[in-house]
């Protein structure tokens, strides 16, 4: 009876080497207050120096979400006191954000697609972190994270349920990874979301009063918080009461949300243009240059894998789910044009090793071309299927080349016809009784003979040629 109306504000940390307004390292972690300087600690007299790379990354993100890029943009100060914010204002964008009017297509119920409109993407700085020491009853500020560039992706209230939100978060994570601007590791806080929810009746023409749930940092929390909040608001409306406009926080342990501050206590951020940062103008040539750096995006790849390579949609989706894997796949197909074989070997063998934590998709110790050669060798039975799997495992474990591993372990099948014939003759001679049984019509003993031959001829011939020769010999004996 009530339709949930949900909008998101997603914060994503950008992968720049240095912070947005100073030269400090933007890397995650580090000992407390080792990655900060007078600038990002807000000391008197210091000034922000805008990181050009951060602007480029934000524009890249905008392109992946089909945004218009404002060629003239500037930064505003968002003023509020909090001990993790050294200057007591966050440099952000309100009046003329970098990217506007975008859209992202998501899959709903596995089949249909839905367009989520992006209101804006703006570029801002992250705040530091508070470290609470309950034992000594003090809170300390760590400014390592302060000044790491963030983009805030603001959607229109286009979502109707938690499932769509989950799809969206997964989709934009993928887009940002493809754009090379954010790794989207939610457990490291690289992606965080605020969710706005209100309910309305089908007959309503205006949106209901919304609550905002702040700072959700896993897809699970987002889903649970939304589901709880829908229940909570439904109960309120059903009992004839009104939802209060407020900011709420999600309690991970209880799975509930609770009020953080009401509208009356809401901050007045007193935004105004930051006089320390000159407005930035971006030329069309620069925009074209940034666009040219973008790789083929996941949707286009998916289509190509299904249409051109005839992969199943499920497999195609698995491949594009990680840009490094998808890139690896495309490279491998370039040297061995059997997409299905490559895809199968990646999905069954390589991804298994990656999921086991034996290697990192971004740091595969061999080239895609070498991997393709292994797949081809297996296809053409130059290496037995099982041995091909073992070869891959050894290549991962030792970092040795395909040739070295296959050579040292005798995995190469040499197709020695002379030895094939002499070995089969020898085995047939040693198993006269079995041969006789076979000739008498007991065909199932073929398997036993084949087994003996394969064992003796491992690495000498392919099972196919062994089988063919054995069949020929037995035929002649009839």
């Amino acid at each position: 009876m009530f339709i949930p109306v949900i909008g998101l504000e997603v914060h994503a940390e950008l992968l720049t080497d240095s912070k947005i307004f100073c030269g400090c390292s933007a890397e995650f972690g580090g000992d407390h207050n080792t990655r900060c300087c007078p600038g990002c600690a807000g000391f008197p007299g210091t000034l922000p120096m805008l990181n050009k790379r951060a602007v480029e990354y934000a524009i890249r993100a905008g392109f992946t979400m089909n945004c218009d890029i404002n060629k003239l943009t500037y930064w505003d100060r968002k003023n509020y006191f909090y001990p993790d914010l050294p200057t007591a204002y966050q440099i952000s964008q309100l009046y003329l954000p970098l990217c506007v009017n975008g859209e992202v297509e998501i899959n709903v119920d596995g089949q249909n697609s839905k367009k989520i409109r992006i209101h804006q993407i703006h570029l801002e700085e992250d705040a530091g972190k508070l470290v609470h020491d309950d034992f000594n009853n003090v809170s300390l500020a760590d400014y390592n994270r302060g000044g790491i560039p963030l983009i805030e992706i603001v959607t229109e209230p286009d979502f109707s349920n938690a499932e769509e939100v989950k799809e969206f978060i997964e989709k934009i994570s993928l887009l940002l990874q493809y754009a090379g601007v954010c790794e989207c590791k939610m457990e490291q806080g690289q992606l965080r979301a605020d969710v706005n929810i209100s309910l309305m009746r089908e007959s309503d023409t205006q949106l209901g009063t919304r609550a905002e749930i702040k700072n959700l940092n896993s897809i699970k929390s987002i889903t649970r918080a939304i589901e709880y909040e829908i229940q909570r608001q439904t109960k309120i409306l059903q009992s004839g009461e009104k939802v209060v406009q407020e900011t709420r926080r999600f309690n991970e342990n209880r799975g509930t949300t609770s009020s953080l501050r009401s509208k009356v206590d809401a901050h007045d951020y007193r935004y105004f243009p930051d006089p320390d940062i000159p407005a930035v103008t971006i030329t069309q040539t620069e925009l074209d240059g940034i666009k040219a750096q973008l790789p083929e995006l996941p949707d286009a790849r998916l289509e190509r894998y299904i249409d051109e390579y005839k992969l199943t949609p499920i497999n195609a989706r698995i491949l594009i789910a990680d840009r490094a894997i998808s890139d690896f796949f495309d490279e491998a197909v370039k040297s061995y044009n059997k997409p299905k074989s490559i895809s199968d070997f990646i999905i069954v063998e390589l991804l298994r090793r990656i999921n086991l934590g034996e290697l990192d998709a971004n740091d595969i110790p061999f080239s895609a071309a070498e991997f393709a050669r292994l797949v081809q060798a297996a296809d053409e039975q130059k290496i037995a299927k099982n041995n091909a799997k073992t070869t891959l495992r050894y290549m991962i474990e030792t970092g040795d080349s395909l040739d070295k591993v296959a050579e040292e372990n005798g995995f190469w099948i040499k197709e020695d016809r002379e030895k094939l014939i002499s070995t089969i003759d020898k085995i047939l001679a040693e198993n006269e009784n079995v041969v006789a049984e076979y000739l008498a019509g007991e065909v199932k003993v073929f398997g036993y003979l084949m087994g003996q031959c394969t064992k003796a001829l491992r690495g000498v011939c392919t099972p196919q040629s062994i089988k063919k020769e054995l069949e020929d010999k037995l035929e002649k004996l009839k």
Binding site: P38, A41, G42, F43, P44, G45, T46, L47, P48, M49, L50, R77, N79, F81, P83, P86, T87, A88, Y89, S139, A141, D268, R270, Y271, F272, P275, D276, I277, P278
Partner: protein
């Protein structure tokens, strides 16, 4: 050695010709500071020992034939400019014990050239006024009238405690005291000198400049500190030769006299002195052109709206957590911030923070802040119109001979200097006469953006024919 009237150029010659050593000079200035500063209170922090060491190094450089323009020049710095390892208070209790771990860019540039720092001078808290009545460290006396207060950097040059000084101007906080002390001061074009390390008052107005005995000295001083700085992205990459027009004829030069600066707001004695200086320019061959800049009418309210807005935001970082004053016996974050700020900021600072927060609040942003920005744009375009047909603008520097004591009148005191700061234009003030009471009167020459050379040349032409009177304090000792 009588150092009282020494100019930077004379010191340069004396040092280069080995007529004196830098060490000797520093001892002489230190002695004079010892004699007079008890009465004047120009300094918040003196750096005598560091100065001697710098002086000896400078003497070595000079002896090695390795001297730059400012090598061995003793000077003072206004205490809102950060000096590494040396207390930088910005005139307030909040930063009373603040020792910056970095140098402002102007300080780095001075150090590279081997200039000698005698100390850090008094100013109103965060540079918000022209009188030091709002300094936590007491007020500095004007050597022309010790009942009148002024700021350290101008009183010091006027009294011969140092030959040149570096400070900052926002809406007139250096130009007006310079006029009152009978010295020359320049606020260059916004962006000409890096603001990195200048403790911010109002960021879109703050500009570092200098104080000296004459315009030619200022040109040399400015040459030593100006130029692009990657740490201040609002700084300009334009090159400049500030002495380029010194000694040039001013024949045919078009000097604009905007009538708004010659109305009821300005004291008659001041108007007469400035107009008589204009007459002298005319006699030297310049053309005087009466013009109008109507938006000046709204300059003061617009200036305070924007400046206080920026001020309130710039001062939010003083929360008692990372640096500066921290209240004791507190039991919550809110209390820490509230009490630290309440106890450390002065009344005028608090008033401006409140006003700034008010004009930025969502209820008044459109009615105040946006309108003030519009006035600023209008004023910029009106100034541009004037510069389409004129080379410079000549105005009084101050509206009154003596500084008014109440805040309301005081806000009007920057009537002549705030508009040019709003338009980010370069202005120089030099003495053009004296009142019947014996107080100096200053005139301001404002030029096109980045055309400091013209206003310096023009001020220099006037100074050549002008007889300066020394303050009683100096004459008497």
């Amino acid at each position: 050695m009588d150092i009282t009237k020494l100019k930077l150029r004379q010191i340069r010659d004396m040092l280069d010709n080995k007529e004196t050593s830098c060490e000797e000079l520093v001892n002489a200035y230190t002695g004079r500071i010892n004699d007079l500063d008890g009465e004047l209170s120009c300094f918040i922090t003196r750096t005598s020992e560091g100065a001697l060491e710098q002086a000896r190094n400078a003497d070595k450089s000079i002896a090695g034939g390795d001297a730059a323009e400012l090598t061995g020049i003793p000077l003072a710095i206004s205490d809102n400019i950060c000096t590494k390892g040396i207390k930088t208070t910005a005139g307030g209790k909040m930063l009373e014990e603040f020792i910056p771990p970095y140098d402002a860019t102007v300080i780095s540039r001075l150090n590279e050239q081997g200039a000698v720092l005698l100390g850090k001078t008094n100013l109103d808290e965060m540079g918000i006024d022209i009188t030091t009545r709002n300094s936590h460290f007491g007020s500095t006396k004007n050597p022309f009238n010790i009942d009148d207060s002024t700021i350290g950097i101008t009183a010091g040059v006027a009294s011969g405690l140092f030959p040149v000084g570096i400070g900052a101007d926002t809406g007139g906080s250096m130009l007006i005291p310079a006029a009152n002390c009978g010295v020359t001061s320049i606020r260059p074009t916004y962006g000409r000198v890096s603001r990195y390390g200048l403790i911010a008052n109002a960021s879109s107005f703050d500009q570092i400049g200098g104080v000296a005995n004459d315009a030619h000295d200022l040109a040399i001083l400015l040459g030593g500190i100006a130029g692009f700085d990657e740490f201040d992205r609002t700084s300009s990459t334009r090159d400049a030769d500030f002495t380029a027009k010194i000694g040039n004829s001013i024949k045919g030069m078009k000097i604009a006299l905007p009538k708004e600066f010659y109305g009821d707001m300005v004291d008659d004695e001041i108007k007469q002195a400035v107009l008589s200086a204009a007459k002298q320019y005319e006699e030297m061959g310049a053309n005087l052109i009466e013009v109008s800049i109507p938006s000046i009418e709204f300059a003061i309210p617009a200036y305070y709206i924007i400046a206080n807005a920026e001020f309130s935001s710039n001062l939010a970082r003083y929360d008692g957590i990372k640096f500066g004053y921290r209240a004791e016996d507190i039991d919550s974050y809110e209390q820490l911030v509230k009490r630290s700020r309440t106890e450390a900021f002065g009344d005028e600072t608090k008033r401006r923070i409140l006003l700034g927060n008010f004009v930025l609040s969502s209820d008044s942003y459109k009615d105040y802040f946006e309108k003030a920005l519009a006035v600023r744009q209008k004023m910029i375009s009106e100034f541009n119109d004037v510069f389409a047909s004129c080379d410079v603008i000549l105005t009084p520097t101050n509206i009154a001979i003596s500084q008014a004591q109440d805040a309301a009148t005081n806000y009007n005191s920057i009537y002549c200097t705030a508009p040019t700061s709003m338009a980010m234009l370069p202005s120089i003030t030099t003495t053009c006469g004296y009142s019947n009471s014996g107080m100096p009167i200053g005139m301001s020459i404002t030029g096109r953006k980045f055309d400091e050379a013209t206003i310096i040349g023009l001020a220099d032409q006037f100074e050549r024919g002008f007889n300066k009177i020394l303050p009683a304090l100096i004459g008497g000792r």
